[in-house]
């Protein structure tokens, strides 16, 4: 219950850049994500703000390669 609201709230971050990118991602892609992709999103959202921002701006690559599909969507958001 309320998974969308929970996910939206967890997109509230300390960096404004992330707030905006994550909001766009949620609006555009969240409803279409598969179960696996939802898991990947949860893993990405658990990262610290700077690590996540570095991955979105391609300065850093994820250690876990399975995160790529959702990360690509974030990078394009």
């Amino acid at each position: 219950m309320k998974e969308l609201e929970r996910a939206r709230w967890r997109c509230r971050r300390g960096l404004l850049e992330l707030d905006i990118v994550l909001q766009r991602f949620m609006d555009k892609h969240y409803q279409q994500l598969s179960e696996t992709e939802l898991q990947q999103l949860a893993t990405l959202l658990d990262l610290s703000d700077n690590d996540l921002w570095d991955m979105i701006t391609t300065r850093k690559e994820p250690e876990d390669a399975s995160l790529w599909p959702v990360l690509r969507l974030l990078q394009a958001a």
């Binding site: 300390g14 850049e17 703000d49």
Partner: protein, 587 residues
């Protein structure tokens, strides 16, 4: 309705640097501490602080806390309280070494000492050569600090209440603060958290402006709670703006762009900074550039269909320079302005960045208000630190790298003070019978509202009103109109309606409650700014361009109940050294 109640020695609202530094002091002293946070602690806005933390360690060039004190007093445009400023600058070295000891990964010099770099506004020998005073962990100092403090708190058994929102203060008939009511987002339950000490560390409220560099969480919740409980808000007219935030979103475009040769254009393609600062042009100081942008927009030379922004041109630098020296900026422009600066200019506006005002405190972190006999009576049981507090070390204008210092020095000081105060008052005072009446009425109003307006819509009206009427450069007619317009917004906010009435994780309710807090901050800002007939630090009036020490060397106090203003003197007397008397502020 029976409301669950829990008892703690101390309850802290906010888990950024200030709240976590205070919590650590208390938990390590063996007190039972609860820290409430709307988001996971390491996602607090402290994470956005890049510049560093100021301390006169003298690791690179000779330095002295007294020089740092002078810079801070001057930077504050003499509105800072000199006792608090001396206290902060004297403790800087100790608190930085303490952070180092906690494991914070500062950058190092070859000799192993903490690396330091120069920063604007910091001088040697009372206004002489540039000082090298900022201790940093790359450009991620706030991030490193937050993670270090979180780990230490976990070890010290601080109890975190994550995804909880503070709702209102509980005060008894004597005015003493006895705790807070709070909402657990997961369940939607309201709980009373009773405490011998209640500390607010809720951060800034930059979201009152349409253009803001602040994260979405910065809604001034602590200020809203304090204001509703009858505590005045101090110096709310003073907001620091950055001249170049991306139009529409607020993300910062650093000064590095103009340093590399980028410049600003109006709708006629004119390089307008030449008119405002013939020598420095686009590299003039932040406040000068911000005021110039605002004037261009007000006089109808803004760009776009609403003529409400300017353009930052850098394509003449060429793709190589942009890719090599400004890659982060190019990324931000593409992502947030949908323009590639290699081909097109970036739309920018002056953007709200930092709130100098807040809940009035002394340098022990105790909240002080004129509610009994004197102008600065301690409100028993209530403490505030960080951006939500006005201690006041930043006065009318904050220096870079002083905010991270502020949160650590006063977070620790407030922790120490609470430990002392609890020795004298070891028991919980009984809660008044009506402790939760007001907050429950506020929640019931929202629950039962019919035919009300949408929260997002009112929020947008609030931000646009603040931006248009109380931005970086302020005009008498706009402020006067602004006071009545923001009053209208407040009335609309009192009648918002939410579609979702469920209990579990109701973010619509949270956002409506955040709006209540934004309204308090916006009203305080507008009313205080309209009344201050001078220009000082970040408060720039078109009709009163000069600082007026005879009439205005005083702190503003705004009272929410009747939207009344009062004033109190600036504390010009330091703790041990001679006072720095007001002088013209020239750099």
């Amino acid at each position: 309705m029976a409301i669950a109640r829990r008892k703690f020695d101390a309850v802290i609202i906010g888990a950024g640097g200030a709240g976590m530094r205070a919590a650590l002091q208390l938990s390590e002293a063996g007190l039972k501490v609860a820290v409430l946070s709307k988001v996971f602690p390491t996602r607090s806005h402290t994470v956005a602080a890049q510049g560093g933390i100021a301390a006169a360690l003298g690791n690179v060039t000779e330095d002295n806390w007294h020089w740092h004190m002078y810079d801070t007093v001057k930077g504050s445009d003499y509105l800072g309280d000199q006792d608090a400023i001396e206290f902060m600058c004297r403790q800087a070295n100790e608190v930085v070494y303490e952070l180092e000891h906690f494991g914070m990964p500062f950058d190092r010099l070859e000799n192993g000492k903490i690396y330091q770099r120069p920063f604007g506004g910091q001088s040697q020998n009372f206004g002489g050569a540039q000082a090298t005073r900022s201790c940093a962990a790359a450009d991620r100092t706030g991030h490193a600090m937050l993670h270090t403090l979180y780990q230490r708190n976990v070890r010290a058994n601080t109890q975190f209440f994550i995804e909880w929102m503070g709702l209102d203060l509980i005060r008894d008939e004597q005015g003493d603060v006895l705790g807070v009511t709070a909402l657990e987002m997961e369940t939607g339950e309201v709980m009373v958290l009773q405490a011998k000490a209640t500390l607010f560390a809720t951060g800034g409220a930059g979201r009152i402006f349409h253009a803001s560099t602040n994260a979405f969480i910065n809604t001034g919740d602590g200020l809203g709670m304090a204001a509703r409980a009858g505590i005045p808000l101090e110096d709310m007219e003073f907001w620091q703006f950055h001249p170049t935030g991306v139009y529409g979103v607020g993300v910062l475009i650093s000064e590095a762009v103009r340093g590399e040769g980028g410049y600003l254009l109006n709708k006629d393609g004119e390089r307008f900074m030449q008119r405002y600062a013939p020598h420095a042009k686009d590299l003039a100081s932040r406040d000068v550039v911000s005021r110039a942008l605002t004037t261009e927009i007000k006089e109808g030379r803004g760009c776009g269909k609403d003529a409400d922004h300017l353009l930052l041109k850098l394509d003449h630098l060429g793709a190589d320079v942009i890719n090599m020296r400004l890659p982060g900026i190019r990324e931000i422009a593409i992502k947030f302005a949908q323009v590639d600066p290699i081909n097109e200019p970036i739309p920018v506006v002056p953007t709200a960045h930092y709130m100098m005002g807040g809940i009035p405190t002394n340098f022990h972190g105790q909240v002080v208000a004129p509610y009994k006999t004197g102008p600065e009576e301690v409100v028993q049981g209530f403490y505030a630190v960080g951006e939500c507090a006005c201690v006041s070390v930043h006065g009318a204008n904050r220096l870079g790298t002083n905010s991270l210092l502020d949160i650590i020095v006063f977070g620790r000081a407030a922790g120490n003070r609470i430990i002392e105060d609890l020795k004298k008052n070891p028991h919980h005072k009984p809660l008044p019978a009506d402790a939760t009446d007001k907050v429950l009425a506020r929640l019931a109003r929202l629950e039962n509202q019919k035919g009300g307006e949408n929260v997002a819509q009112v929020g947008t009206a609030l931000r646009k009103t603040m931006q248009a009427h109380c931005g970086v450069f302020r005009f008498a007619d706009m402020l006067k109109q602004g006071v009545s317009r923001i009053g209208e917004v407040a009335e609309r906010a009192a009648q918002t309606e939410i579609g979702d009435k469920s209990r579990v994780f109701n973010t619509a309710r949270i956002e409506a409650l955040e709006l209540d807090n934004l309204v308090e901050v916006a009203l305080a800002t507008m009313v205080s700014a309209e009344a201050r007939n001078e220009s000082r630090g970040a408060h720039a009036r078109d009709d009163f361009p000069q600082r007026d020490d005879d009439k205005w060397l005083k702190h503003t106090l705004y009272f929410s109940a009747d939207r009344r203003l009062d004033y109190k003197p600036v504390r010009l007397k330091p703790l041990t050294v001679e006072s720095f008397p007001p002088k013209p502020r020239v750099y």
